[in-house]
């Protein structure tokens, strides 16, 4: 392991970290803009052009707010909650392949922090730890609303993780690998997995909504019932961390959706570009394409938020256990039959 390798990896890691943060920041801005546009309003437009400085203003406001702490016996856990939420949200970005590779100064730079061969399992593991941030925060707040939010988040996570995992298995049977890099490479051209796994994609999409606690599955924080849910007692930047973690999660899950089902950084004609224009240009364009796909999914999250009302708790459980899980098992069986028949 030479020093150039270490420098290369640290540059990639810092860039990925920065991009995740910036995307999360501007997702808050996009959320407000999209919400406004869908409601025939114009949204924030005072801070900077089109309100582009709004996230900075929000961040500064959160830093300036009083750091309130409820009278709780779990002071330590109260601090740990947002930290876990934030770090798990950022940890998942480590295994995501942002592009193929670049050639800089004769070196081949992989555009991925690390190519783990169990990347999918790693993501599942980290995402399930993410709910601990919510649970610990809700528990340590010493508040019934927070606890309710935390309990809901936990049960929702447990229910939907099963269906998500099962929909994943169908995909794994097809791809035969857990590495996100290899899954991306397999989808070169227009060979996207969504065409082979439409039902699996739908299940995965619904579960992704549930895992990120977005409407219509935002029972963990539903303002109209639980004030703020698990972050009711939080203020200042601790609150900011929770909100930020939600948007970071949204960004990462959009990236995973794009990579697993929509071909990741691949675009039609990529091979032609590599042969005729150059590796770097073609792959930089690939990064751009991946970000377009990610942005579409982030937009889709917001679009759905302002379209579908929140599920009732029993409806949520019905959907998870009685519909999605049987459906994903059927999907696995059908996938298995198809693989046997056609390969």
């Amino acid at each position: 392991m030479d020093s150039a390798f270490i420098i290369e990896k640290s540059v990639v890691i810092v860039t990925v970290f920065a991009i995740t943060m910036i995307m999360a920041m501007y997702s808050t801005w996009a959320e407000r803009k999209v919400a406004a546009f869908l409601q025939d309003r114009v949204g924030p437009n005072r801070a900077g052009w089109g309100g582009l400085l709004q996230p900075l203003a929000d961040g500064m406001k959160l830093f300036a707010k009083e750091e309130f702490e409820p009278n709780t016996p779990n002071k330590f856990l109260f601090f740990v909650g947002p930290a876990i939420a934030m770090s798990t949200a950022l940890m998942t970005s480590a295994v995501i392949p942002w592009g193929d590779q670049l050639e800089i100064f004769g070196r081949t730079v992989e555009l991925q922090a690390t190519d783990v061969d169990v990347a999918l399992l790693y993501i599942f593991g980290v995402v399930s730890v993410g709910v601990y941030g919510i649970m610990i925060g809700g528990w340590a707040s010493n508040n019934k609303f927070s606890l309710m939010g935390a309990v809901r988040a936990a049960s929702q996570m447990v229910s939907y993780e099963v269906a998500m995992g099962l929909s994943m298995i169908a995909l794994l049977m097809m791809t035969g690998t857990l590495s996100l890099k290899e899954i991306s490479e397999q989808q070169a051209g227009m060979n996207w997995n969504v065409f082979y796994q439409p039902v699996g994609f739908l299940i995965f999409l619904i579960c992704a909504f549930a895992e990120t606690n977005r409407t219509p599955f935002d029972l963990a924080e539903c303002e109209s019932e639980l004030i703020g849910g698990y972050h009711t007692e939080y203020s200042s930047m601790k609150m900011g961390f929770y909100l930020f973690a939600e948007y970071a999660n949204m960004f990462i899950s959009s990236a995973i959706l794009a990579i697993l089902y929509f071909g990741g950084y691949n675009y039609p004609g990529m091979q032609w570009m590599i042969d005729n224009v150059g590796v770097n240009t073609a792959n930089l364009l690939g990064i751009g394409v991946l970000f377009i796909k990610i942005c579409f999914f982030i937009f889709f999250y917001m679009w759905v938020r302002w379209t579908i009302p929140r599920f009732r708790y029993d409806q949520l459980m019905n959907l998870g256990w009685k519909i999605l899980i049987p459906l994903s098992i059927v999907n696995i069986v059908i996938t298995g039959i198809c693989i046997l028949a056609f390969k």
Binding site: V34, F37, L38, R41, V42, N45, T307, I308
Partner: protein, 183 residues
């Protein structure tokens, strides 16, 4: 024609409610969700209803009762004679005034021999009902001319508007006269 009374719909919007079991396709909700998404995306591209307030101001209707204005006549003289009928008619007791006699050489300022030396309206008390306007025998006070709102202030004292804010600006009176002569 003998239509049953139940089936008549004058508005044309009547819809028969039914409790029939949903079909499998309906129970999936996917079709309904896609329809909903299409409706919301239509709004995304629609013209926005927002008026960007400080830069754009909503146009008032011709009868909108906003900030009061004490009118001047065609020669720029104040109409008000401080008779006190507006103060008397005011249900909120927002108006106070002090009368004074017109001196020699002030004929170009005041239309009649008596005028209001002090004329004050407390905008916190005023309910903008327009009764002062109705009571005025001299055509002096109007709520519909200024086309302005009473702006927000930090102190209560700032809401007591004296003659400096209420009397119609001289330029506006001159302009009105010019318009009248032009017609």
């Amino acid at each position: 024609m003998s239509t049953a009374i139940q089936s008549i719909s004058l508005s044309g919007k009547k819809k028969q409610v039914s409790n029939k079991e949903m079909t499998f396709l309906e129970r999936l909700y996917l079709v309904a969700i896609v329809k909903g998404l299409l409706i919301t995306i239509k709004h995304f591209f629609r013209k926005k209803a927002t008026i960007h307030y400080p830069e754009q101001v909503r146009t008032f209707s011709p009868v909108y009762r906003g900030r009061h204005m004490l009118k001047r006549d065609e020669q720029g003289r104040e109409n008000c004679t401080a008779c006190g009928l507006c103060a008397l008619s005011c249900p909120a007791e927002a108006i106070t005034m002090k009368a004074a006699e017109r001196k020699k050489g002030e004929e170009h300022l005041y239309r009649e021999e008596k005028y209001a030396e002090i004329y004050e309206i407390n905008m916190l008390r005023c309910i903008f009902c327009g009764l002062c306007e109705e009571a005025c025998p001299k055509d002096a006070i109007y709520l519909t001319i200024s086309k302005e709102l009473v702006p927000a202030q930090y102190d209560r004292e700032d809401f007591i508007f004296g003659k400096d804010k209420l009397v119609m600006p001289l330029e506006m009176a001159i302009k009105n006269t010019q318009l009248k002569n032009a017609n």
